[in-house]
Amino acid sequence: MHAAELLQFVIAGLKNGSIYALVALGFTIVYAATGIINFAQGEFYMLGGMVSVFVLGALKVPLAVAIAGGVALTVVVGALVERLALRPRRDAGQLTLIIITIGVSLLLRSVARHAFGANELSLPAFSPGPSVMFMGAAIERQALWVWAITAVSVVGLWLVYEKTSFGRAMKACSISHEAARLMGIDTARVVALAFALAAGLGAIAGAAVTPLTSTAFDVGARIGLKGFAAAILGGLGDFRAAVAGGLALGLVESLSVAYISSTYKDAIALVVLLAVLFLRPQGLFGRMAKEKV
C-alpha cells in the first residue's frame, strides 16, 4: 500500500476515533460518578445532531447558535433523565438503574423519530471549503473541527477534574459515595452534573460529526456500543484511558478496512469489545478494580 493511501486511512481512523473518544468519555464520567453503565449515552449523541439540525431549520439562526442550542437542550435532557428517572431509585442497585437507562434510550429514540422524522438529516460543514492536503492525503475541514473540539473537550475536562472543587467532588464520589457524603459533598448534585456533562460531550460529538456522516433517529445504539468498546479498551473509569481507547479503536477499525475488508467494518469494534472482555477486562491502561466489601 502506498504511504499516502495508508496515511489517508490513518486520518480517517483518528477522525472516527476522536468521536468514539467523546462518547467513551460520557460513559466514563457517568460510570465514575455512579458505577453504572449508561445505555442511553448513544442517544445523547443522536440528540446533539438531530436537535441542532432541527433548530437550524426551524429558527433560521446561524449554525453556531443552532449547535449551541442542540448541545444545551441535550444537556437539559441529560440532567432531567438523572433527576426524574434515576435519582428516585438511586439506592435500588445497578440492575434497576441499568434497566431504567435502557428504557430511557428506547424512549429518546422513539420520541426523536416522532419529533424529527425517520429520514437522514445533515448539517452544513462548520467551515466550507476544499479539503486540506497533507503529505498527499486529503483532510476534510470538518475533520479538523472534530479534532479541535475533541482536544478542547479533553483539556477542559482535565481542568475541571484537576482544578475545580466539582472535579475533586467527582473523584471523591468515584471512590466512595458514603465517604464523600460524610465530607459534606452533595453527591446527588455531583451525579446530576456528571449526567449533564456526559450528555453535553455526547451531543458535541453528534453535532460535530453530522456534517460528515449525516444523522438519524436510530444512530444512537451503534455509536453507544462503539463508545463503550472504546471506554472498555482504554479501561473504564479513567478519562485519559477513554481518549486513548477511542483513538486506538478508530485506528484499528480504519486499518482493518484498509487491509481486510469493509464489509465487516462495523463488526470490528464489537469484536474488539468482546476480545478485551475476554483477554484484558481492565483495559489497556487500567488496573483491575478490587471488589469493595
Binding site: Q94, I99, G103, A267, L270, L274
Partner: protein
C-alpha cells in the same frame, strides 16, 4: 413445607395449561391461532430470560440474536442440507447454548453488568452476520421454504398442530425452569441475591451459577427460534434486531423478578398489543394505529415507570395483594425460593 399455597399454585398452573392447550378446540380462526402461537414462542424465550433476570440478577440485550441463531441454524440445515427436524432442533439449541456459554464465561467473571453490554455487542455482530453471510442466511431476502416440523410420521402442518407443538414446548420449558429454581442451583441463586460474598463463603461460585443460567436461557431462546422458523416457514434478519431484544426486556420487567408466571403473562400481554384489533373486536382502528405507531415510546415509558413505581412488576403486585388478603395463619415462606421481596434489585445492595 409450603402447604396450601403450593397446592393452589399447582392447581392454577394446571388450569392455565389446560386452558391454553384447549384454545384450538374453541376457535378455528387461523390468524388468531398464529398470533397465540407467537405468544407461546415469546413465552419460551421469556422463561429463559426470567431465570437469568429474576433469579441470577443479570440482563441480556442479545436474546434476539440467540433466537435468530436457532432459527437460521435449523432453517438452513433442514432446507439446504435435508437434515430431519429433530437434528435441526438439536443443532439450534446446541449452537445458541454454546454461544451463550462463550459470551457469559468472560463477562461474568467481572463485577458489574459487563454482560449486558457484551450481549448488546454480540447481538449487533449477529445482526451483521445474518445480513452478510448470504450463503447460509440468504442475506436481506432471508431463508424461505423451511419445512414444517416433523417427528417421524407426525407432521405439524396445520395451525392447530403448530400451536400445540409450541405451547407443549413452552409448558415443558416453564416446568423445567421452575424445577431448576426450586432445586440446588435455584437455592444457590437465591443465596447470591442475599449476599454474593456470603454465598461465595458457603462454597457457591457466583460466576459459574450465573454462567449456567445464561447458557440455559440462550439455549431456550435458540429452541424458540428453531420452532419459529418451522412454524413460519420463512426467516429474515429484521426479526432478530435489537428492538426485539428490548421488547423482551420490557416483558421481563413488566412481569417482575423471581417469578415465571409474571413474565409469561407479560409476554402474552405485550405480544398481543400489536394484534389488539383481532383480540378485542370493539377497538377502533385509530386506537390500534396509535398503539402500533407509538409502540416504542410506550414501551420506553412502561419500562421506566415500572422500575420507578412498581419494581416488582406483575409478580410483585400479585404478591403484595396476596400479602394483604392472605390473612393470618399462612405458613411462613421464608427460605422458599418463590417467596422473597418484590425486586431483585432491592436486595442487590446500593450501586452508588
Amino acid at each position: 413445607m409450603r402447604g396450601r399455597d403450593s397446592y393452589i399454585a399447582w392447581a392454577l398452573v394446571a388450569a392455565a395449561a389446560v386452558a391454553v392447550l384447549a384454545l384450538p378446540l374453541l376457535t378455528s380462526d387461523r390468524y388468531l391461532l398464529k398470533v397465540f402461537t407467537f405468544v407461546g414462542l415469546n413465552a419460551i424465550v421469556v422463561t429463559g430470560l426470567a431465570l437469568l433476570f429474576g433469579y441470577a440478577g443479570q440482563i441480556s440485550l442479545g436474546h434476539a440474536a440467540f433466537f435468530g441463531i436457532g432459527a437460521y441454524a435449523s432453517g438452513f440445515v433442514t432446507t439446504k442440507l435435508g437434515w430431519p427436524f429433530l437434528a435441526g432442533l438439536a443443532l439450534a439449541v446446541g449452537l445458541s447454548a454454546v454461544g451463550g456459554l462463550l459470551l457469559a464465561l468472560p463477562s461474568l467473571r467481572l463485577k458489574g453488568h459487563y454482560l449486558a453490554m457484551a450481549t448488546l455487542g454480540f447481538s449487533e455482530i449477529a445482526s451483521i452476520l445474518f445480513v452478510e453471510a448470504k450463503p447460509i442466511t440468504g442475506g436481506n431476502d432471508g431463508l424461505s421454504g423451511i419445512p414444517y416440523a416433523a417427528v417421524g410420521a407426525l407432521r405439524f402442518s396445520t395451525p392447530q398442530a403448530n400451536y400445540w407443538l409450541v405451547w407443549g414446548v413452552a409448558i415443558a420449558a416453564v416446568l423445567a425452569v421452575s424445577g431448576i429454581v426450586s432445586s440446588r442451583p435455584g437455592r444457590a441463586m437465591a443465596a447470591l441475591h442475599g449476599s454474593e460474598l456470603g454465598a461465595s463463603a458457603c462454597g457457591i461460585d457466583p460466576a459459574s451459577v450465573k454462567t449456567g443460567a445464561f447458557t440455559v436461557s440462550a439455549g431456550l431462546a435458540g429452541l424458540a427460534g428453531c420452532l419459529y422458523a418451522h412454524v413460519l416457514g420463512f426467516v429474515a434478519p429484521s426479526s432478530f434486531a435489537l428492538d426485539t431484544s428490548i421488547v423482551l426486556v420490557a416483558m421481563l420487567v413488566v412481569g417482575g423478578s423471581r417469578s415465571l408466571a409474571g413474565p409469561v403473562a407479560a409476554a402474552a400481554l405485550l405480544t398481543l398489543v400489536p394484534f389488539a384489533d383481532s383480540i378485542l373486536p370493539g377497538l377502533s382502528p385509530a386506537t390500534v394505529a396509535f398503539l402500533q405507531e407509538w409502540k416504542g415510546d410506550i414501551s420506553g415509558v412502561v419500562i421506566i415507570a415500572v422500575m420507578l413505581f412498581a419494581p416488582g412488576g406483575i409478580a410483585g403486585v400479585v404478591r403484595a395483594l396476596r400479602g394483604r388478603f392472605g390473612g393470618p395463619g399462612r405458613p411462613t415462606r421464608a427460605g422458599a425460593v418463590s417467596a422473597g421481596p418484590a425486586s431483585v434489585a432491592e436486595e442487590e445492595g446500593s450501586a452508588v
